[in-house]
């Protein structure tokens, strides 16, 4: 575990917000002897920042995939913005996904498109007018501090910059919930802190964030609720 110093002032987590995402008694198995998630219940409240920790293979990504409808639970229900998630209702799922953003450990940027095109892609596929796309892309890139790299291609960017492009793409649609799947997993400690600081700032502007990491040191940098997955069960950890 890397020793790091706090980069942002810890904020007080609230528990008064509206529930915007919920897992009720969710079990998910992939055919192994033990289920990946076993009767997991979780409520994400609007305006909160959650860390989801656990070792590699503990089911963090599975939990996120269940939340964004990429997987279906074997048992239990998943609700997003008050609606039951059913990946088979493709159009409804698309509508729900427009209310959230997702970022990944491996950034998932398209190598043959520039930074601005990568960010714009999220709006282009929703059919927004060109002028609005341009305006939103500029705002999103400004927010992550990459306005000057709009024309660059992902290969020419550092890991941290690529992740910031990925965050801009997730934010450009104006999501209410941001799911961050190990966003610092491929980054060095200093860059990881920068990314965490960025997400923390976004949270302070009202964004709900679910941040998965196996690096407990990161959770010490800011004071947020910590959820821990262990042997398929979800536990709430006290802040270190």
């Amino acid at each position: 575990m890397t020793a790091v110093t706090p980069v942002v002032t810890p904020g007080e987590p609230t528990s008064e917000g509206v529930i915007i995402a919920e897992l009720c008694q969710v079990t998910k198995s992939f055919g192994g002897p033990l289920p990946c998630l076993h009767r997991v219940s979780l409520q994400l409240r609007r305006g909160e920042f959650y860390f989801l920790t656990g070792s590699s293979g503990s089911g963090k990504s599975t939990l996120l995939k269940l939340l964004c409808g990429q997987l279906q639970p074997d048992q239990g229900t998943v609700r997003l913005f008050g609606e039951a998630v059913n990946p088979r209702h493709e159009r409804r799922m698309a509508q729900l996904r427009r209310r959230m953003g997702v970022i990944f450990q491996d950034f998932k940027l398209l190598g043959d498109r520039s930074v601005a095109e990568n960010v714009a892609f999220a709006l282009l596929v929703r059919g927004l007018p060109k002028a609005e796309i341009q305006q939103r892309v500029q705002t999103a890139l400004k927010l992550v501090g990459l306005s000057h790299k709009a024309g660059a291609y992902p290969q020419s960017l550092s890991g941290g910059e690529q992740q910031r492009v990925s965050i801009a793409r997730a934010l450009v649609g104006g999501p209410e919930l941001l799911l961050a799947d190990e966003p610092t997993g491929n980054l060095d400690p200093q860059t990881s802190q920068q990314i965490l600081a960025l997400l923390h700032r976004l949270h302070q502007r009202g964004l709900t964030v679910l941040f998965t990491t196996h690096d407990l040191a990161l959770t010490r940098l800011v004071s947020h609720r910590i959820l821990h997955l262990h042997h398929g069960k979800l536990e709430s950890l006290p802040h270190p």
Binding site: Q72, G101, K108, A122, L124, V125, G127, G173
Partner: protein, 304 residues
């Protein structure tokens, strides 16, 4: 963000299809050629079938039904029969050759007009009245012959039934073989093009994943793929028509110099019409779309 446009906009589609075609590289060429070969064979099968139809039709139009009138038929009934035959539906041309005229012609043909031969062999005219009838179309020849045979006073009816049915059989075989070949080749093309599209889907998987996660509907995600396949199929159809048109021109020029062909096919043409070209392009597009549907069914995973 509200649901904006249910169908992909051109701003999105044109660059996406262009990008996908560019990425497909030589695989696109393979798909176009596969479609083109199938449609080329189909086109030629169609042309040969049309040519045979024209030949059968042309031959059929020249086929005459010959009916022989009973010599014992009273003169009053002969006149009535003549009227009835002329009034039969489907009769294009009607010629009555009375027995005296026929006998005179026969004698002239045999050179029996000289004194020494005249009517030496027969005391009376041995011939009967003869009717030559041409039907309006090939299909009407056989039914018309049957109708004539049933008329009172008709002794016998003759026409080239064997030749006619033989040609019709050849036409049926050509159509059947073409259809079967095209069906088999179409299946091959659909399998090949859908395999190519599956590869393209795999190449585009990162984009598809991102599109899904940012809330694109399947219509937005997969319409570029359908358009790509339709353009490959349409391109194959166009290529088949161009090659067919050129080869048709060459063959037509060569066959025009062949007397036997002119006699058989009359004015039938082997040139590939613009209508056939349009038809081939449409079939190519349909093959492309069917292939895409198949590729998506076997590639796109449903959430488990």
């Amino acid at each position: 963000m509200a649901n904006l446009s249910p169908f992909p906009t051109l701003d999105f589609l044109i660059p996406e299809v262009r990008r996908s075609l560019w990425r497909g590289g030589w695989l696109n060429g393979a798909a176009v050629i596969a479609v083109a070969v199938t449609l080329f064979i189909f086109g030629w099968g169609w042309q040969v079938s049309q040519l045979l139809s024209a030949s059968v039709e042309s031959l059929g139009n020249r086929l005459e039904i010959t009916a022989y009138v009973s010599p014992d038929l009273p003169t009053a009934k002969v006149a009535k029969l003549r009227e009835e035959l002329a009034a039969l539906p489907g009769v294009a041309d009607f010629t009555w050759i009375d027995r005296d005229r026929a006998w005179a012609e026969l004698q002239a043909n045999l050179g029996l007009k000289s004194k020494q031969g005249e009517l030496d062999l027969f005391e009376t005219n041995p011939l009967s009245d003869e009717v030559k009838i041409r039907a309006q179309s090939l299909e009407q020849v056989a039914p018309l012959a049957n109708q004539i045979a049933q008329k009172e006073g008709i002794e016998s009816v003759q026409y080239l039934e064997r030749a006619l049915t033989g040609l019709q059989s050849v036409q049926r075989v050509v159509r059947g073989v073409t259809l079967m070949l095209v069906l088999l080749l179409s299946l091959t093309v659909v399998a090949l093009v859908s395999a190519i599209l599956r590869l393209i889907i795999l190449v585009r998987q990162p984009e598809i994943e991102i599109m899904t996660l940012v809330g694109a509907t399947q219509t937005w995600i997969y319409t570029p793929l359908f358009l790509q396949a339709a353009s490959l199929g349409g391109g194959g159809g166009l290529l088949a028509w161009i090659v067919g048109w050129v080869s048709g021109q060459q063959l037509q020029q060569w066959l025009a110099q062949q007397t036997s062909f002119r006699a058989l096919a009359g004015n039938a043409s082997l040139e590939w019409s613009a209508g056939l070209g349009f038809f081939l392009i449409v079939i190519g597009v349909i093959l492309g779309l069917v292939s895409t549907r198949l590729a998506l069914q076997t590639t796109v995973p449903m959430p488990k």
